[in-house]
Symmetry: C2
Subunit: 165 residues, 2 copies
């Protein structure tokens, strides 16, 4: 079991699925004749992130997850998306970046030292627990919440769309 | 990176976190003086599973995930929980079962043949893609949705509760 398949493949499959979910959300808005951007501000609770932010954070967790395991600095993406098309573009440029991270760079990353600066503290991990107990659960958290927000808004998607290929 | 740490550890950490989320939901109901069972029927969309079913399915994905990788038959648990205490007990007996699956039984399970009977088809995997593309994403799907339902119902939980240890 390689770190590359555990990390990169999961991010690729899931971001590809996310991109298709947002396509369906856009088609749903077009069919119902409302502005797809209306969904971007949708929240499941008033103190949870809205849809746009859930997608941005999922993208960043994949980008930083791959880069930190590879020991490289990822590009910075601004959080300035205000339309569904822009949000889709964010997912696509994240996917394109992740595909540039070579599998070989993740070899041996199980034991790499990883430091994550948060607002109020710094979290330190070895590569394997970073991936298993931080990057993947956080990534799925924001991805599933984005899915749930789209379902809550009436978009016709299901478990197979969620899982992707 | 071992299959046991990727599977068993993730299920253990996450089900332990789920058990604490349900404890907080029960305390919230007690403080607000309503029956905690009222939350079990809560849904994010009318054609999504309610909270009780999300928890049952998350438990079963962990139980079957561990057992299938180990090549053993897990115990059958009835889906008959109608109170928050019963739902908590379901999580706890699932955890207890998973802790009985020896790490050694998962050695080499990357290439084990795994067949999953669904309502309308049978899905076949090798052990590694079963874990990465099926068991973990599906498990997190139901776990995050349970978390989102509790947040949507006003339970005071956050990302640290979600992540657990």
């Amino acid at each position: 079991m390689s770190m590359s398949s555990a990390a990169i493949s999961t991010f690729e499959i899931t971001l590809t699925a996310l991109s298709k979910l947002l396509d369906k959300a856009e088609a749903f808005a077009a069919a119902k004749k409302f502005d797809a951007a209306n969904m971007l501000a949708s929240r499941l609770a008033p103190d949870m992130f809205a849809l746009a932010r859930q997608v941005q954070v999922a993208c960043d967790l994949a980008k930083f997850g791959a880069a930190r395991l590879a020991g490289i600095d990822p590009p910075k993406f601004e959080d300035n998306e205000t339309t569904m098309d822009e949000l889709l573009a964010r997912v696509k440029k994240t996917l394109e970046y992740i595909e540039t991270v070579p599998a070989a760079a993740l070899e041996g990353s199980e034991t790499r030292d990883i430091r994550i600066p948060l607002r109020d503290r710094t979290v330190e991990f070895k590569g394997l627990p970073f991936l298993q107990a931080w990057a993947l659960p956080n990534f799925f958290f924001h991805y599933v919440t984005a899915y749930n927000l789209l379902r809550h808004n009436g978009v016709d998607i299901g478990k197979r769309d969620f899982l992707g290929s």
